[in-house]
Symmetry: C2
Subunit: 160 residues, 2 copies
Amino acid sequence: MKGTIVAQLTEEQRQLIEKIGIFHEQQGFPPATGRIMGLLFVSDKPGLSFEEILETLNISKSATSNALNMLLQMRVIEYTTFPGDRKRYFSVLLDNWHQEVINKMESILGFSKLLRQANELRGNVNPEMNEKVLERIEFMEFLSKEVPALMQKWLKERQK
Amino acid sequence: MKGTIVAQLTEEQRQLIEKIGIFHEQQGFPPATGRIMGLLFVSDKPGLSFEEILETLNISKSATSNALNMLLQMRVIEYTTFPGDRKRYFSVLLDNWHQEVINKMESILGFSKLLRQANELRGNVNPEMNEKVLERIEFMEFLSKEVPALMQKWLKERQK
DNA sequence: AATTTGGTTCTTAAAATTATGAACCAACGA
DNA sequence: TCGTTGGTTCATAATTTTAAGAACCAAATT
């Protein structure tokens, strides 16, 4: 069977998809990739097929393929399959945000290490700067310790 | 007086500048702009002039001008002037990271609002998804409340 | 008044990113 | 075994980003 599936989007859905897309672009995702995230968040289906994504967003096969593989590799989406159906049904990976938070904190910690190195390299020529940079470093270290802890606490609270 | 100022960089400095530059690129800064941040962090001078920046990084006048203005507008650098000297001396703005943290939290809160809208738009077709997305939303809201509070607490502690 | 300094702005080029369309391919079904 | 489905990959095009270089300009200096 051929042709269009296109469960056409309402204007409201379309706009929300764009906004979610833009947010993802700001986080460094390519536009089409961000839009796919938007679509997956907005869609009420449990999973969207390759074809559905491509048709509702009007993007090419290759763009769809590349974007989906990128999102899979980043572990922000997943897919389900069904016996006797070759299609994959993609959806947002909703169990992964803990790890995302932890990763973000690690990146911040990484930057704090660079700043520490900068402080050492500069020596004590400008003590005021050293002190201010150190404050920043220590706050970053503090954050990257406290935020995961906060998250664990929050999760414990919540699962009760 | 003409010609090169170039307080040449050591290999170690050069490498650290690149690393700090790459970190900034990952945050969405253009390469040259990220490198300027690197240089300003690594330099032991209290401020670097337009000319010094351009010469030590080997970038063009226009690139330097645009990058500096971008960084000024983003409020991540500042400059000092001295009477009888037309030059501006640029340095990292070290008193602004509180605001940066707050801004980041606001952006997260903004995204949580989009997800809330998505949840509403989807209705109750997929309650498990709604619940998981809601968990994420609530954690984001929690974070964007707690992190600034944590920061305030930390600052109070520290200024004693 | 002419020149130098400390930039800014404009035009253009180079490079990188993003997406297209066509060709391709393996698995499955008829 | 032939066509269809569900993609992937490749070559290329379009767009965007980034930087260069030259022209420009106002303020200060000679």
